[in-house]
Symmetry: C2
Subunit: 191 residues, 2 copies
């Protein structure tokens, strides 16, 4: 799926569908952090107008989804808990090169992979979640995650030669797959 | 106006209307930072559902305005520059008490004052900007800044006794007025 080099293992699906509220809480935080990441990208690259405009669009959509999930949590009588961070995203970010313009390219590729993996996991939840409402929710969010993956890769191609983008997508496909293979199958979106 | 204890001096208006692009750029960054502040409040107080929902609404509106200003800048052939920070907001934040729940109350009051001062300055620009398009822009944004002031104070009243909220509004009115009186009249929204 998309650029991913491996599939989420069945054990994560088992854990995730058994804890729908935990997954929703983590999902809410993921949407919030995706919006915050978009704002951080704007802060870092204010002169890249294409990036600024696309990141605003992305942040707006992430906030819409954040709101959707917060309202569902409220309906379920579940309160958001403290965000404990996302070791998967952190591990990916650790592979971003620190010198520019490499940092920009790698940041966009990392953004793309997080969206792609979320998309894959949403598709698993859309299929395997025990409650119809949960299956519907994740099915409804699938397309937009795929859209965000494309947004990140489109921005990358705007600012970098296609071969450079391809090369980093391939490199990060390996990095991301290794990170995912080592995940503990926790009841979080990227657990 | 609203809770403000003094008025912006005429010199700022003169400087601001002479540099519409500089004001627009700084305004864009203010909208972006207001959205980021709302997300930071959610991060800090995820269990306060009323706050979380209101902060999402506020962040969404700030992003809409951010987008509006970015598009106007693009039409004017002006590119966003690096955000140099906001000494006015920083000075206000320095007065937030560090222990909870005081930190929550003061953070909400500071949010309210930044919105109130922005509202006052938008009203000045709506009146004095040399270009009709600029006057219209600031007039159109006025009401929502006042709405954000109310959002912050309403959340404060949700979680704290009215007398406590009033007491901190009065204290910060003096603090904010002193900060504003000492501003250098720079061509920024809170300069």
């Amino acid at each position: 799926m998309l650029c991913l080099a491996n599939e989420t293992n069945a054990e994560w699906v088992r854990v995730a569908v058994a804890k729908p509220d935990a997954i929703l809480i983590d999902h809410a935080h993921c949407e919030k952090k995706a919006a915050a990441f978009a704002l951080a990208m704007i802060n870092r690259y204010p002169q890249r107008t294409r990036l600024v405009k696309d990141m605003i669009d992305l942040a707006k959509e992430e906030l819409e989804h954040f709101e959707t999930v917060v309202l569902i949590l409220e309906q379920r009588g579940v309160t958001l808990t403290v965000d404990r961070g996302n070791p998967y995203a952190k591990a990916l970010h650790d592979h971003i090169r620190t010198s520019e313009p490499h940092r920009l390219l790698d940041s966009l590729i990392v953004g793309a992979f997080i969206e792609a993996r979320s998309c894959e996991r949403f598709s698993l939840l859309a299929k395997h979640a025990t409650e119809p409402a949960m299956r519907e929710l994740y099915a409804s969010l699938l397309a937009s995650e795929a859209g965000h993956y494309r947004a990140y890769t489109d921005i990358a191609r705007e600012y970098f030669p296609v071969t450079d983008v391809k090369e980093r997508l391939t490199a990060f496909a390996g990095i991301e797959a290794a990170i995912v293979a080592a995940l503990p199958n926790a009841p979080t979106m990227h657990g």
